[in-house]
């Protein structure tokens, strides 16, 4: 489904990786590993289309993603280092807007349920800037519950989360992959990724 051929990326003058080939099929999880600075975030942002690669091609269902443009972005959920939530808005308001933008089912019940599942009942009326780092991350993660995108690209999703939230996120990823979804993620934590077929990609060798 998602296929990269001979991918090469540079940041400034530095070559991060070149000649990278990999494939992510339905029901697979790709764990990207590598030292700090080996280009994991760059790879993930390139897969999303936020960065453009210096050479090589990324294909989604056989078609170059650049040609697909918004048809590809519709199928994609990206979770980056920045939470992408507004500090002056409450959790509910944040989720409602991102659901509208993502074109997901945005009815209030689903949003309330997502917030409850992520463990933020009682905090829904607070501006998210009043929340702790981990709680902010939880608000952002609630987007995954609402998402219907088949491809999840998650950059260090486990940082700042407590044990419960890590378990919950693992469960979400497992369900997603078991349901035929695809996940590309990076993490330094020794999180057992039990879900479906897990493959590894090592950068910076």
């Amino acid at each position: 489904m998602l296929q990269a051929t001979q991918l090469e990326c540079r940041r400034g003058d530095r070559l991060l990786f070149s000649g990278l080939d990999f494939e992510v099929d339905a029901g697979t999880l790709l764990h990207v590993r590598g030292r700090n600075g080996s280009g994991k975030t760059t790879l993930l942002r390139t897969l999303c289309g936020l960065y453009s690669q210096d050479s090589g091609e990324i294909r989604w269902k056989g078609v170059p993603t650049r040609r697909l443009a918004e048809d590809y972005r519709r199928e994609l959920m990206y979770f980056g280092h920045l939470n992408g939530i507004k500090g002056d808005l409450t959790g509910i308001e944040n989720l409602r807007l991102s659901a509208t933008l993502d074109g997901d089912a945005a009815d209030s019940d689903a949003i309330w349920e997502a917030l409850g599942r992520i463990g933020l009942f009682g905090f829904e009326d607070l501006p998210t800037r009043m929340l702790s780092q981990g709680q902010k991350k939880r608000v952002a993660l609630a987007r995954l519950i609402l998402s219907r995108a088949p491809l999840w690209i998650l950059d260090e999703p486990f940082t700042a989360l407590d044990m419960d939230a890590v378990d919950l996120l693992q469960g979400l990823i497992a369900d997603h992959v078991a349901g035929g979804g695809m996940t590309v993620l990076t993490t330094h934590q020794a999180v057992p990724l039990t879900s479906g077929q897990a493959r590894h990609l090592d950068l910076g060798r």
Partner: protein, 223 residues
């Protein structure tokens, strides 16, 4: 698609209401700059009436510049901008929603306070009317053109100064015809219509060209 436009517009207005100081800063800046001139050049009616239109327009340009830097910067810093770039919604539409919010918060208040400012400069009722109309047509152009500059300078150090250097020259046509319309309206026989129509033409072209241009600039800036 319209729902996305409204949602984003509503979000930006809501955010501004929760941070009211940002909106008031622009308005007070405009009022103070405009009020400084009579103090500097004296209160002679004849001088003020000549200076008035130009001063009001220059102050409007500067006031609209003031808030421009933050147009995309806040969304860039907290990651909401990259999420916007990754949705399947047309980016020009999202940009237009943000620019509309920017204009409602910084441009429209200037239009509404114009009569008060006009009185300071002893402008006649006709002149004030024309000034409001010209500002109503001209200030959205400032926001639209400014969005291109704000998108281009996003994430740059010292982007604010660069933004002014890029954008202020592009504001010149609006300044010339905006101030021109008010000056002409002081003469009984003169017709202000061509000036206002030209401003309207600027507005339409900016509406058509600025959102796509800003979208491209945003995609480049986020690299």
């Amino acid at each position: 698609m319209l729902r996305v436009f409204w949602s984003l517009l509503h979000r930006d207005l809501l955010l501004a209401m929760r941070r009211r100081t940002d909106v008031l800063t622009t308005l007070f800046f405009f009022v103070i700059v405009v009020s400084l001139f009579p103090l500097g050049v004296g209160t002679e009616t004849q001088t003020l009436r000549i200076l008035g239109p130009g001063v009001v327009w220059v102050a409007a340009l500067l006031a609209s510049m003031l808030a421009l830097e933050r147009l995309f910067a806040a969304d860039y810093e907290d990651g909401t901008l990259e999420q916007m770039l990754l949705t399947d919604q047309p980016l020009p539409l999202l940009v237009l929603a943000k620019v509309t919010a920017h204009w409602l918060l910084t441009g429209l208040p200037l239009v509404l306070i114009a009569p008060l400012v006009g009185m300071q400069y002893r402008l006649s009722d006709t002149e004030i009317g024309v000034m409001m109309l010209a500002l109503l047509l001209g200030t959205p152009v400032l926001s639209l053109i400014g969005a291109i500059g704000a998108a281009l300078t996003l994430g740059l150090r010292g982007g604010g100064i660069l933004l002014s250097l890029l954008i202020l020259p592009l504001y010149i046509p609006v300044l010339v015809y905006g101030a021109g319309a008010v000056e002409v309206s002081a003469v009984d026989l003169a017709d202000t219509r061509p000036y206002l129509m030209l401003l309207g033409a600027f507005l339409l072209s900016a509406l058509a060209l600025a959102p796509p241009a800003s979208s491209v600039a945003l995609r480049i800036s986020i690299q």
